[in-house]
Amino acid sequence: MLLGIDVGGTHTDAVLVGTDGLKAWAKAKTNHTDLMASIRDVLGQIVPQAGHEPITRLNLSTTLSTNAIVEGLTEPVGVFVAAGPGVNPNAYAVGQHFRTISGATDHRGRITSPLDEISALEHAAHCKTAGVSVYACVGKFSPRNPDFEETLRGVVHPQADFVSCGHEFSGQLGFGRRIHTAVFNASVWRVFNRFADAVQRSAIGFGLNAQVNILKADGGTMPLSMSRTFPVESILSGPAASVMGIIAVCDIDQDSVILDIGGTTTDIALFADGAPLIEPEGAVISGRPTLVRALKSRSIGIGGDSAITFVAGHVRVGPRRLGPAMAEGGNHPTLTDALNVLGSAELGDVSASRRGLNELAAQHGSDGRTMAQDAALAAVTSIRAAVIELTRAVNDRPVYTIYELLEGKRLVPKTVYVMGGPAKAMAGLLSEVFPEDVLVPGNYAVANAIGAALSRPTLSAELFADTQRGRMLIPGLDVEESVPRSYDLDAAQEDAARYLRQYLEHLRIEDPEGMMETIEAQSFNMVEDDAMVGRTIRVKCQIKPGVLPGYRKAVSRQC
């Protein structure tokens, strides 16, 4: 049996899923000052319901890293950056202990100017004096040659509790993103590891022998052991859990839209042929772009608690919140109040909702019901506009070959799946503005936890080979090998898949073949003085996000 826990902003949900369906679920208020308390709470409710059947896996999504970063509750990081020529690296300066070390590596991984180790040692000494004990070492083009990062790691290792090197996160290019990723990772390392310790202790306390996994932003999981080194990968796993929940409970096999309507925001995600779309570059945290793989989603400021206001003769909903709904004791009408007035919802004190809207309407020469209708319409219209915008952006994404440009698939959603608290109440209104079918899956209230329970591991590997230099690298998997001049695209594809499979086996992840796919495979002739001197080869493989097929059958009938 699988146990899934989703630590959300308001509630912590847990489910128990067996091969024959949803066995149990539990809910608790999230305690933001002590997330473990909420986790223990739901574990206490749900573990006893498993009876004698063993719980083999516990998948957990947590807002811990995200919150720590957003709220600035992270520890200072000593940052070493080998930038070389290009954009001024000071643009990426974070914190008090950021230093650019001279030295340059080019796009092929050739060192074009040596690393200034003396200045690295000086910076290390400064960090030590300042009491810094976690570090990030990042070089430009390090996925093409991690030497500088390894040297820098060597410099600070003796004094460090933890060092993040940029090339460990991704083989993808993006110097600024690499800096942000490595720095965030180091900055949440301690707080996350304490949490991981507590999770492990609790699991043992409840007699669980389950393998513990942490959810990632791309809708996949990673073993708890791995999350200790890559805690930044656990950011934004909440929205990912919701999307995976929809996959679990609904049989999605075509282009679709997922709307997760919460208290303050509506998250929008897209599916192509039933598979969730991944953000090609990486997630943005606290305004800083990273290399953390994430599902493609967009968030707009419309949710149940969004305030209804009157601006320039028009009723507006969100993005502001002015406290809870009047039905729940607030003193400004919200979208939830409007839904109450329209009879689409019956939440809390409906008469308070009616009173609030009547008062606001009276100030603008209208009546409460009309204003509620206008508000609901404004909300669903904004949501639809955001969906159209996101779909357009996806269809407008750059492609680099004539084939892709002329034959490129366009995303045309057929169905809109709605989940989250106000989902049921909004569905009717949404069908009025969306030409697509609007569906609210059953169990939508705990679909996120089901998603967490059923998510499989994801991983990606980017291979880069340069046959002129006789080198092949897979930076994320720490692979670096010599290759013969005859090394070609087929060999590279085989290598990428093989190393990815090996890594999964090393992590003791079953079914590694499952959803492995090559998403990019290119080979270019390198020519010098009219003669071919070698090939530059780039291959990208991934285990795409998905849910365990066996269990999925058990829960998917609920859609």
Binding site: G86, A91, E281, R288, Y400, F524, M526, V527, D530, M532
Partner: protein, 439 residues
């Protein structure tokens, strides 16, 4: 995060599945390292800089810029239509104010493609700037346009297309034609009789560096532009003046290109040549993007950059200074008639021989422009490629006077009846009409 003071749209299209041949300088690998550099630098993460995919030009778009024989479909591949479409997309971004400036970083290039097209020359089949210029005029009604061609090779194709057009100022800075392909681009090439002075050629000695080009920019190009007062400035941005370029002999650096871009302040840049695909393009293109976005370029440099090694020789400096003075005066007060060609009644006639080096085609042309006095004048071209049939091309320009419109139709009809031609094509811009006839 970094923010661009001026918004920039980059239309990036490296055409990873197209090449002339596997080891040709204009091959798949050409923009690969530029892409690596732009991605690594995170250019598209900066607020105000966005990447776009190209539009695809249609036959009708090509017809506004070229007379293509036998027809567009048989000469032009989709890669050319996409490259031209990339330039069109850049224009659209700027005209629709989605970006203050735009850079079409596309391949294959186009500036050697002339008014009449029978095939490919100098790696170019259709002139992507010209297709874009005609799109700017046709769709957005832009009237005065300046094209500043900073490719190391003379932009002979663009010059040919706008030779008789006083509304398009064409300025080319290039390595002296006596030392490099295509062997043209001399100061006396000033445009046809109805557009004299709207073509300016600035030939530079081999070995000219940043100092020389910036001197020409400040002392010749900018004053000429100032007088012309274009609504839009386009930079035909060839990167092959770079000291590491394998097929040229100049000494510009990425810093020089960035500074040139900053001072020129073009609204739209379109990539042309540049074949030092590892040592120059990644850095030059990055420098240009940053300069167009008005961002800091001070730390952009090539790994092999050594200011001492590429220092411009004194004799080159002396030559540049004196040439700049001469050219400025010459361009500001050009002679009244072209140096080459003859007057036949109301027509001005010139004979041309065009070599399509890439496709091995030789073409002979007779070009006639009607010296109307009221408008740029209808242009009539007779063209024969190798031993192929004689073709007739008639262009009635935008803003043509009624007499020139009538003249154009008359010549086209007479031509068809004469049985002298196998193929004839008429482009009537005021009437928005294109006719192709197989006789």
């Amino acid at each position: 995060m970094l923010k661009a003071p001026s918004s920039l749209g980059v239309v990036f299209f490296p055409a990873y599945d197209w090449a002339i041949s596997p080891t040709h300088p204009e091959r798949q690998e050409r923009l690969l390292y530029t892409q690596d550099q732009l991605r690594e630098e995170g250019l598209f993460d900066f607020e105000g800089i966005r990447e776009y995919k190209p539009d695809v030009a249609k036959t009708g778009d090509v017809d506004l810029a070229h007379f293509t024989f036998p027809d567009v479909e048989q000469v032009v591949t989709s890669s050319h239509l996409i490259s031209a479409g990339g330039a069109m997309r850049a224009a659209r971004l700027v005209m629709e104010r989605e970006a203050k400036r735009a850079f079409a970083l596309v391949r294959p290039p186009g500036h050697h493609a002339m008014k009449v097209v029978h095939g490919t020359r100098g790696f170019c089949t259709i002139n992507i700037e010209a297709v874009m210029v005609e799109y700017l005029r046709e769709r957005y009604g832009v009237r005065r346009i300046a094209i500043v061609d900073t490719d190391c090779h003379h932009g002979d194709g663009t010059q040919d297309i706008y030779w008789n057009d006083p509304d398009v100022m064409f300025i080319s800075i290039h390595q002296d034609g006596r030392t490099i392909y295509p062997g043209s681009g001399f100061p006396y090439e000033l445009g046809g009789p109805t557009a004299i002075g709207s073509t300016c050629n600035i030939p530079l000695l081999p070995g000219t560096g940043d100092q020389g080009i910036l001197h020409m920019l400040d002392n010749v190009v900018l004053p000429v532009l100032e007088r012309f007062k274009p609504e839009i400035i386009i930079n035909s941005a060839g990167q092959d003046n770079h000291f590491s370029d394998p097929i040229t002999n100049m000494a510009f650096s990425a810093q020089g290109y960035a500074e040139l871009t900053r001072r020129l302040g073009a609204h739209i840049a379109v990539l042309e040549g540049g074949y030092s695909i590892q040592g120059a393009l990644p850095y030059v293109n990055l420098g240009i993007c940053l300069a167009m976005a008005d961002m800091d370029t001070s730390q952009v440099s090539e790994p092999t950059y050594d200011p001492e090694m590429i220092k411009q020789e004194q004799r080159v400096t002396d030559y540049t200074l004196s040439l700049a003075d001469q050219l400025r005066n010459y361009f500001m007060d050009p002679p009244p008639m072209p140096k080459h060609g003859r007057v036949e009644g109301e027509w001005f006639v010139r004979e041309k021989e065009i070599h399509y080096d890439t496709d091995g085609i030789f073409e002979r042309q007779t070009e006639k422009v009607f010296m109307c006095g009221q408008c740029p004048g209808t242009v009539v071209i007779e063209s024969r490629a190798d031993s192929g049939p004689l073709c007739l091309a008639v262009q009635i320009p935008l803003h043509a006077c009624p007499a020139c419109v009538e003249k154009g139709h008359e010549v086209f009809e007479t031509g068809q009846r004469s049985k002298n031609y196998r193929r004839a094509m008429l482009v009537d811009r005021p009437g928005k009409d294109v006719k192709r006839v197989l006789i």
